[in-house]
């Protein structure tokens, strides 16, 4: 059984004009355990919406999103919250670190809703990404590359089965982007987590042997572009 199975996934939103706009229409998609896959997609092709549906942040309009055997589409919101906390790590383009919290606290917060706060494990994760000397610094006191590494540590805090990365290098310079991507792939591999990365950056996409075009998967995107 695949780690992630999507079938007939549809997600539509109501526009301010009152019309229904389909953003996602994915007949079939799957991701195996430990697989690292990059999805290519330009802005507005529903990359974030897809990741949010997979993470259980958004509820699909119809279809099935099955993660580790659990159907997120039919699960209640608390069930989706719990599944997200336990099984998914999320890396955002802008990192979405909590500014008032130290690196350590950001990682501990990542653990809090999953396996529970573990100071030693949090320290180990930050050590792994080379931030053992920045444990008690706040995001504002770190470079952009260092902030991304905190975000990576936080995403792995609950030993997730799946790491979702939404344009994870979008805010980094090429050098930092390469290093960050390398780091994300390494730590996912070390923790046996699958990685699903969405990006439109050729440099990122070139790093992956396994790369798909979201426009081919998402029929709604095809309609928009047509």
């Amino acid at each position: 059984m695949s780690l992630l199975e999507i079938s007939d996934l549809r997600k539509s939103f109501r526009t301010p004009e009152g019309e229904t706009q389909a953003v996602l229409d994915i007949p079939s998609f799957s991701l195996e355990r430990g697989q690292q896959l990059a999805l290519r997609g330009a802005s507005g092709t529903g990359k974030t919406t897809l990741l949010n549906c997979i993470a259980g942040i958004l509820s699909p309009t119809s279809g099935i999103v099955r993660l580790d055997g659990h159907d997120l589409a039919t699960a209640s919101e608390p069930q989706r919250d719990a599944l997200r906390a336990r099984c998914i790590g999320y890396i955002f383009q802008t990192f979405n670190l909590l500014q008032g919290y130290t690196c350590m606290e950001n990682v501990l917060l990542g653990m809090s809703f999953g396996r529970g706060p573990d100071t030693d494990a949090a320290r180990g994760l930050l050590d792994r990404v080379g931030l053992n000397h920045r444990l008690h610094h706040r995001p504002g006191q770190l470079s952009v590359g260092q902030q991304q590494r905190v975000a990576v540590s936080r995403a792995l805090a609950n030993q997730p089965l799946l790491v979702l990365a939404d344009e994870p290098t979008g805010n980094l310079d090429p050098q930092n982007a390469r290093e960050a991507l390398q780091l994300i792939r390494e730590v996912c591999e070390e923790s046996a987590a699958a990685l699903l990365i969405v990006s439109h950056d050729p440099m990122v996409l070139d790093q992956f042997d396994d790369c798909q075009d979201l426009a081919e998967l998402n029929h709604a995107a095809q309609e928009v572009s047509a």
């Binding site: 919250d81 719990a82 997200r84 979405n96 008032g100 809703f113």
Partner: protein, 411 residues
């Protein structure tokens, strides 16, 4: 741990508004507790001061003035009972009361009132179940036919003036001390110091009544007059009612030159009733302060909601449920209220010590700041409950935060 981490960080990030809000809650709560307790304890203390003396006979005038002057050693003396009237009361109406103690006032030492009385006063209880007791020395002579220039002083007088037994002093004329005034020539000797009573008696210099009546400089024609007579009615209910009614009829109805206060307790109660509006106003002000402070908790947290929407969205993205962010906000509001309640205890303690000092020095009534009172539980618990209630509104806003809309940017 997670909840506390979130709350602690939020309070730290909004430290100024948190501190001001907690302070205003503390001020309201502290005031409320202090007003309640000061009122309760002072009423109790004032009612206790009548201890033993049910009634008072005095010159024609205000009952309140008579009680304040005779029992609380405050206010001016309404005048004198002439010797003949006093003797009539003593000899002809003795069957209507159990005990009567005359007092005479009109002199002071550096503002401490000198009260002439008989030894019988010390046989009474200054508060229910608490008789007068000496800390040092002895009482002045018992025999009214033979008196010495001796004085027994209250605890406050001894402490404030630094007097000990054998201290000599000359009284000053009048109830208030006037700088530069010449004292009387008579010299009195302190023979006894009373133990603290927590009543106005602590502020009094007691001398034999004859000493005051016949003091050098006092008009000899008033030598037998007294300022008032403190009366103990019978302990038997029927006899007591009979005596009270008879004396009331004799002095308040059938004649018009003396006043008989038939119940000192009623006068004190009426006095507090009359002052009740002030206490009510203060209580409402304190309540208003507390409610406004609770409103400021609501405003201060609610105003941060917009800037914190992203924080909640991130927490939700990390797996926190809606109930978690709701609970965090309610608990944050309650935490500010708890901080306010703790500050309230500090405010309460400060006010109580100030009030205690003022009342003890000005009136002689002692308050007990650390004495347990239900309001010291009700107010803090009420404040925390109020904190929880006002926290619900911003918590609902946090509850409704949509994750996807508040995680930026979206690709």
């Amino acid at each position: 741990m997670t909840w506390w981490m979130i709350i602690r960080n939020s309070l730290r990030q909004h430290a100024l508004s948190t501190a001001i809000t907690a302070l205003s809650i503390g001020l309201g709560g502290g005031l409320l507790m202090a007003i309640w307790v000061v009122n309760f304890q002072s009423q109790r203390a004032f009612k206790n001061v009548t201890g033993g003396f049910d009634a008072i006979l005095g010159p024609r005038g205000s009952e309140t003035q008579l009680v304040l002057n005779s029992l609380f050693h405050m206010d001016s003396s309404p005048g004198l009972i002439n010797h003949a009237d006093y003797e009539t009361f003593r000899k002809s109406h003795k069957r209507f009361y159990r005990n009567a103690v005359p007092i005479a006032v009109g002199d002071n030492f550096q503002g401490y009132r000198i009260v002439g009385t008989t030894h019988d006063l010390f046989a009474a209880e200054h508060s229910p179940g608490e008789p007068y007791a000496l800390a040092a020395g002895e009482y002045f002579i018992r025999n009214e036919k033979q008196w010495n220039k001796e004085a027994v002083i209250g605890d406050t007088v001894a402490r404030k003036l630094g007097w000990r037994v054998n201290q000599k002093f000359s009284p000053y004329h009048g109830l208030n001390f006037i700088e530069g005034q010449e004292p009387h020539k008579d010299k009195y000797t302190v023979v006894g110091i009373l133990r603290p009573t927590g009543t106005p008696a602590d502020q009094v210099i007691w001398i034999p009544i004859e000493g005051l009546q016949q003091m050098d400089g006092h008009d000899a024609q008033f030598a037998g007059d007294v300022s008032a007579v403190l009366i103990q009615l019978s302990t038997n209910t029927t006899a007591r009612a009979f005596g009270m009614n008879r004396l009331n009829a004799i002095y308040n109805k059938d004649s018009d030159h003396l006043t008989f206060v038939k119940s000192t307790a009623d006068v004190v109660a009426r006095l507090f009733d009359r002052l009740g509006w002030a206490e009510k106003v203060l209580r409402w002000v304190a309540l208003l302060v507390a409610v406004v402070a609770a409103g400021s908790v609501l405003a201060s947290i609610y105003n941060t909601m917009n800037e914190r929407r992203r924080e909640f969205a991130i927490l939700r993205a990390l797996g926190a449920g809606r109930d978690t962010v709701f609970g965090v906000i309610v608990l944050e509001s309650a935490t500010i209220a708890i901080m306010g309640a703790l500050i309230g205890f500090a405010v309460y303690t400060g006010i109580m010590f100030a009030a205690e000092s003022i009342l003890r020095n000005e009136i002689g009534v002692t308050l007990h700041p650390f004495e347990q009172h239900p309001v010291m539980v009700i107010v803090p618990v009420g404040l925390v409950m109020l904190g929880v209630v006002v926290g619900i509104i911003p918590a609902l806003k946090a509850y409704r935060t949509e994750v996807a809309e508040n995680l930026i940017p979206q690709s």
